[in-house]
Amino acid sequence: MKKFVFLLSFILAVSLVFATPNYDGEITVGTDQNPTTMDPALYQDLASAQVMRNVFETLVAYDASVKEIKPLIAESWEVSEDLKVWTFKLKKGVHFQKGKFQNGREVTAEDVKYSFEREIEISPMVRLYMVDKVEVLDKYTVKITLKYPFAPFLTVLTDIGAAIVPKEEAEGWGDEFTLHPVGTGPFKMVEWIKDDHMTFIRNDDYWGEEKPYLKKVTYKFIPNKSVLAVALMSGEVDIASDILDQDIPKVKANSNVDVIMVPGVNVYAVYMNSMRGPTVDKKVREAIFRAVDTDQIIKVLFPNGSGVRAYGPIPPGSWAYNPDIKELYPSYDPEKAKQLLKEAGYDNNLSLTIYTPEDPNRRKAAIVMQSMLKKIGVDLKVQSLEWGSFVAITSKGDADMYTIGWTWYPDPEYFIFYMFHSSRKGTYGNGGGYNNPKVDELIAKGESTADKQERIKYYQEAEKLIMKDMVYMPLYHKMVVMGVNKKVKGFTVSPDMMIRLYAPGTNIWIEK
């Protein structure tokens, strides 16, 4: 018995030794999207933001679960009563990576001022548009004044577009800064073969207390998602950024990898035109709601469970998600739909067009809807267009109906304001031309209130009004599905699809 206990404890000890993090792991991340720039001020796509996180850091950042905003370069902050003046205290001892034009000097308030002003000046889509001025109070204190009260300002600061960059490098390299990025981050970029791969090595002088475990990080860009799944299974990549629903069983069957699914911060829906065309009539819109069996659509699209039914525009990945919004979703009732159409003055003679992009899920959903609407005598034409044409037509309000997909921060502002505020008419977000002054009012309140609970109330109230107006038919929320090799430890799949190798609370390592 004694022998047995000894043996057992020995085995335990050995396995513990093997299970401890080590500092010489190398990882290959496969993504289906290709970064286009390494200059934070110039980026416009998720793929670039993702790789830039290795090199650059922001004042504050989300943890890997994208629930909480944590200090990063900033140590603490204060907000004025009116939500217009934000004062940040920076951590001492935060250093830039060594570069050609500076030797890893300390980050000061001047750098924050420079970086933000640079973003406002050169960014093609100014993320800090609400910023009025940035003032340096002392070496480690910076005061930011906004043009108007803006509660989700911290969320804006988590965006890599608001990263802190060293002036010497940005100006020294000029246009070439994108090829020689230098920030305060845990990894340094050493190679970038465009459309193929990108390599980073650990920044051994990283300022943080916790050193990154990974020694080397390679990103491989594989545009075809099914090929990406194959590359994961054959061990060529350790993390695959997106696994298609159809490939899930195949990948799950592989004993070397795990398939991890988390609810995403996204929503897919049908937006109906409330400016012109037959859908201006609420009865027509309700008839469409009642004629479509959404559960059936989910079954067709996601036989392997990588999507869940949506009942409102605010996704489950957001802290303002309201499960009770379900009550307001009109039930499936084709008989009532027929009756509603008759009341609206249609008798088997209503013809509508729905636009979708090339996204196979949305196209499938539209085709299923086509057959469902046929049963109530509506002739639905499905137009699938390539992205640029799709956006052009839908944003102008020229579509009777279109399938909208929206993915952003978990702050409800990014869903409710961008898709339903009347000022967003004429953009892809509000291509239905939705205009409800009460919703506008609630959004304004949500933007200018500091208390989170109160904000939740305003946005949820707005969401209810939107659902009652029946202009926006939520279909599904896509799960974020990633494939991860079992040797990768400490990795959390983030609801915003960002792959975080090193973030507040996250430090990935590779089991030997």
Binding site: N34, T36, T37, D39, L42, Q44, D45, P124, M125, V126, Y129, D175, T178, I193, K194, D195, D196, H197, K220, F221, I222, P223, N224, S226, V227, V230, A231, M233, S234, E236, E386, W387, G388, S389, V391, A392, I393, S395, W408, Y418, G426, T427, Y428, G429
Partner: protein, 318 residues
């Protein structure tokens, strides 16, 4: 010969102008505002306007074209809107991948295609002829996209012989680079292989029916000698043209292969540029590919003229 060369070279100028003109206006005609596509659905109206002004997109189209033409004539292809880098440098970065891939694909296609075509012709109307014809037709009609996936699943995933995606690294030796190129160039070459086989077959059949071949047989020459010395040489003239044209097609058509195998080539760059309405990059790339295409054709024509005096003479008289 000199007269012929000058004449052929002069034809290039209007062709290129035409290519430039068409591409420019096609990019204007397709729906989708570049500013809106590039800035994304969440862009604010102010940013869209600023973006347009910076690029001169608020000016009349004809003025925009003349401005672009002036730039190109001074050798400036402009800056890519998505990569914020010089268009020419982006193209030159990727050209070697596409060129290697195409040449290798053409090599595989030729090495397999010509012998298969010859075999098919001399075994005319037998089982072998039928088999090769069927295979060649499959090669011509198979979707590269699907075929590429099948190759990856069989050779990379099941057998594990070859890597599935990406470029090799020369630091790991030449074999690493070649290893990565075998599957994609085979997938890309299959179409040309079919075409070359079909062409070789029909060209050989035609020549084999000629009187001088019958004469050669009547003289009692050995079959091998007749086929390789007399028939193939004459049959080769149109085949060379087809092969030359195939290179142009392969260069321009490597898009699907590059997408499936995740290779950083011109095709991939082009698709991205069109999808994101990066018109500077699209125009630059089309022009670049057109120049290559024209020069390959020119080279084929000159080669053709060298081996076929009839063409040379017709130009010298005219």
């Amino acid at each position: 010969m000199r007269k012929y060369l000058i004449k052929r070279s002069l034809q290039i100028i209007p062709t290129l102008f035409f290519v430039l003109f068409i591409t420019f206006f096609l990019m204007k005609l397709i729906p989708g505002d570049p500013a809106m596509v590039i800035l994304g659905p969440e862009a604010r109206a102010e940013d869209v306007l600023k973006f347009k002004q910076q690029l001169g997109l608020d000016k009349p189209v004809l003025i925009q074209f003349l401005m672009y033409l002036k730039r190109v004539l001074t050798g400036d292809f402009g800056k890519s809107l998505i990569y914020k880098q010089d268009v020419l440098s982006l193209i030159i970065e990727r050209f070697p991948t596409t060129l290697t891939l195409s040449v290798l694909a053409l090599f595989i296609a030729t090495v397999v295609g010509i012998p298969a075509g010859i075999l098919s012709a001399i075994k005319h109307n037998t089982f072998w002829d039928l088999l090769i014809t069927v295979l060649a037709l499959i090669g011509i009609s198979i979707p590269i996209f699907w075929f590429g996936m099948v190759l990856i699943i069989v050779f990379a995933l099941k057998l594990g012989w070859l890597p599935s995606v990406g470029l090799g690294n020369l630091e790991n030796g030449l074999w690493d680079v070649i290893k990565h190129l075998i599957l994609p160039s085979f997938a890309l070459g299959i179409l040309s292989m079919g075409t070359i086989t079909r062409f070789t077959r029909s060209s050989m059949l035609e020549v084999l029916r000629q009187d001088y071949i019958r004469t050669a047989y009547a003289k009692g020459l050995r079959k091998r000698l007749i086929i390789y010395r007399h028939a193939l040489r004459n049959a080769l003239v149109p085949i060379v043209t087809v092969i030359g044209l195939q290179l142009g097609n392969l260069l321009a058509g490597a898009v699907l292969t590059e997408t499936v195998f995740a290779l950083p080539g011109l095709g991939k760059l082009m698709v991205d540029a069109i999808m994101r309405r990066d018109f500077m990059l699209v125009q630059g790339e089309v022009l670049f590919v057109a120049i290559i295409y024209i020069f390959v054709n020119l080279a084929v024509d000159i080669f053709y003229a060298l081996i076929n005096p009839k063409i040379r003479l017709s130009y010298e008289r005219g």
